[in-house]
Symmetry: C3
Subunit: 377 residues, 3 copies
């Protein structure tokens, strides 16, 4: 690990490390290009496998103008489909989550699909010359699962999932994330471009100013990043002496996650698996954020707290200390991200210089530019 | 009639009868082209002549960005004008309906027009060299009346009204619609393109799924369409044995409309006179829908129930059975139309195949494409 | 004065003096061009110097997408800056007004600026090769003060302020505006293009129809305009016999402003200093409107009532008679401006003819066209 977390910051020259021009945060066409090159092309974290334990259980996620059903099929495999009937385009599932009894039926004309997406019944279409049900399955979206996290990919030719994970599965195996269970969820609507939320997440220079409680539990200069990777950005910070976890009072009645070594019991890991998954690993719980782009200046965030079932089952289990800590910290960050959007959108904005503790932000900008320019060719 | 309602469905090949591409339902430019080629070029049903019985009575209708005053003039003729002062463009009538006392006066500078649109008084303009009042009448909109239905046409060169009606006036003469009176009105705002509302209206394949009560009163397979016509689409369905009309319980205390023969007392006629008028003729009442396009994904619908004055004047007359039936059925249809808009707008939408019981929808699509392409030349 | 206020109206030929085409009131691109050529290029009245009496006092004004801080610095000079941090573009001041304690600090990463805009502290940037604090002051906006009115100019090369005032400072010196103090403020949101508000302000033909109380206190034909000037449009109207000022009942318990001669005690002056400042001088008070463009069809108006401190300090001082008079009159004008926007935006709008008592409106239109066309070259 010592080679990864070296605390050796790269030297950044002021003339070469500037924030992006305004249009990247305000222009709907730029947004559309980013969606095509990034969100519609890469693996997105959609949620947790144990949120849909039984066949027919499903939830719906929306990214830009796409609506996707994630469902467990009869063979207990996880499938994803565009939430659109192949007949006349009606939205199939109107609820954010629920259970489908063995099939997906359009409420308009009763076209009926199996949970694997195959068209099973299309009333009155037998009279249509040349119509074949096998030509009209639901439009499938690729899926994969890593340690309990469901990923989807809207591309027709998804990059191999292992290439996307790039070894993170090995790195985070000790946390045994697959075992963890969702306890609490908050949904936030931000008036901010998705990149500003990742930028806010990827540096702790703002922590002493914006997050006094976080700063009390972990010194902001303890943040130590990996060199940026093609598909993720991240690092870890140290808990101060006497602090057990990021909770309101820095204590925790919960045991540490069972697989952690002594060193990892003293760190909080903050990783952004590009482009939509923020993974925060604490000694005793996992916090996840999934970002759902809505428009160039609007992002929905699902924030979820996950705990080990051994702790959940204990009498007196209570997640409030962890939930309240992050609810407070989140509100501070969302306020700053909204203010960044407001300022960058205004006439007076000019690209400004990054410090060399903002190297992950520079890496994000370069990732976006390369993706979008690569797509154009 | 037997030749018109043949129940001989055309054979449709799957490869040739697909729904329209997404842009026709989401692109503001497509919408604007449709407005120019269709709604601003064809006859629109605006309302009923007996809603403005006396000189000065008026109502206002809006289609896309046009606002039109429909008014009865001093000679009791029905006139229509753009609702805009010729001086500095002020909106003249701010209310949806009312009575003008002998003239239309702009509230800004008191330019005053006669009810026939002529500019009567333009204060202080007499000092302007070359100004002539006859050069500034209200911008007129063509009008016509068919059996009590007022039609307007925003084109500078409207197609002859008889050509638009194409014999429907003869066909529906027995219903003596002119005599009928408005009893109830509902206004609905749909998040749906106008074409989706006509499509929903033009097939009953969805009836057994979406409209159990309608299906109880009339079997959906009884629907029998005329071959599509250039300016209208329609057909009729049979009432089941023992059902007197489309009401909550299928009975009716009202007599049938006086001119109907025995056969027409057993049918409900559903006609779409393109592009904005849905006419539903029941044995004992008339239901009308007029569609008012607001944006590519927003349509206002005025739904009105009309009855014969002989029935209205009877003690105990009550329209609730008919109003409640359609209020229920409308809500089911609007929900489906909104869901169609949501699905077609989403990334996963692809054109899908029509069945041969959806021949009127295919005819609508072809009508739209021909109109819009014809306009471009 | 007699040469200025001649009541000699120019002869206007109907064919040559028409209102502008629709796009000037509805097209976002037209709006953007007007902002660049006019609001971002000319001097704008921002408020009053005595609203920020002490170092650190500030208020924020927004014009189109620009957000500007106006602040009094440590040397008691008035400064203006774009409200955007030079680091990552965060909006600096979130409140409309307040007091900064000696510096402007970004809430995100604590970049800190002196009240003269100099960057004082940029944490962690000392590690960045080639970074110099003097390269990143706040983006300055030019300022000037005329008789207590603060003006700002967003252009990189502002026209000399004296050229903009064009002698109005001499003309209005007797009113001693610098001494006057703000007593009441109202903020209005209009669904109208900014030009419609100036047009409404620049003629009184509508007064007998829309403003019966104003008409009772001052005959609308007494309005007498100066020939239009490159940077302002204006004139004056006479108070009727027995009327002391524009108040609800036409009386006033206040003394006239101390510098006025007998003639000016009988007039109300209405000047539009282009493009955003409407200045109404009454015998006993000053009424100011500043217009803040938000979008092609949205303008915010700040309306403020200012009185002489000698009167304010008198026992029983009460501004209600003047506030209520204009609150009533404003509402009548805003309603008309909103209706003008609605009508001009509609399909039926055609440019219409100006009377020769609307010569200031024609001058405004020509000013706009010249500015926008000049910018394009």
């Amino acid at each position: 690990m010592s080679t990864l977390y070296s605390n050796m910051r790269p030297a950044i020259a002021a003339s070469e490390a500037m924030t992006l021009p305004q249009r990247h945060y305000t222009d709907p066409d730029c947004f559309q290009r980013e969606m095509e090159a990034i969100h519609f092309d890469m693996w997105l974290c959609a949620g947790r496998a144990n949120q849909i334990p039984n066949p027919g259980d499903y939830f719906v996620r929306r990214v830009a103008n796409a609506s996707i059903i994630i469902v467990r099929d009869e063979l207990r495999d996880i499938r994803a489909f565009h939430n659109v009937c192949r007949h006349r385009g009606t939205l199939l599932c109107n609820q954010d989550e629920g259970t489908l009894v063995g099939r997906i039926q359009c409420p308009y004309h009763a076209w009926t699909y199996k949970l694997d997406g195959a068209l099973e019944n299309a009333p009155h279409m037998n009279k249509v010359e040349g119509f074949r049900e096998e030509d009209y399955p639901l439009n499938a979206v690729a899926t994969n699962v890593w340690d309990g996290h469901i990923f989807i990919n809207l591309s027709a030719h998804p990059v191999p999932f292992a290439e996307h994970l790039a070894g993170l599965d090995v790195k985070f195996r000790p946390w045994r994330m697959e075992e963890l269970e969702l306890v609490e969820r908050r949904v936030y609507q931000l008036k901010a471009n998705w990149k500003l939320i990742i930028q806010n997440y990827s540096e702790c220079l703002h922590c002493p100013i914006a997050h006094p409680l976080l700063q009390k539990h972990s010194h902001y200069m303890s943040g130590d990043n990996e060199p940026p990777h093609a598909t993720y950005l991240g690092g870890r910070m140290d808990l101060r002496d006497g602090v057990k976890s990021l909770t309101i009072d820095g204590t925790s009645l919960r045991s540490c996650l069972p697989g952690l070594n002594t060193a990892d019991q003293r760190h909080v890991y903050y990783y952004c698996i590009l482009p939509n998954f923020l993974l925060n690993l604490h000694p005793d719980y996992m916090l996840t954020f999934t970002l759902w782009t809505r428009a160039v200046d609007h992002t929905e965030i699902l924030c979820e707290w996950h705990f080990h079932p051994d702790e959940i089952s204990k009498p007196g289990f209570n997640a409030k200390d962890a939930v309240d800590f992050w609810e407070l910290t989140n509100q501070q960050d969302w306020e700053l991200s909204n203010r960044a959007q407001a300022g960058i959108s205004s006439k007076g904005y000019r690209p400004g210089p990054y410090s060399n503790r903002e190297e992950l932000l520079l890496a994000l900008d370069r990732f976006v530019l390369e993706r979008v320019q690569g797509q154009r060719d």
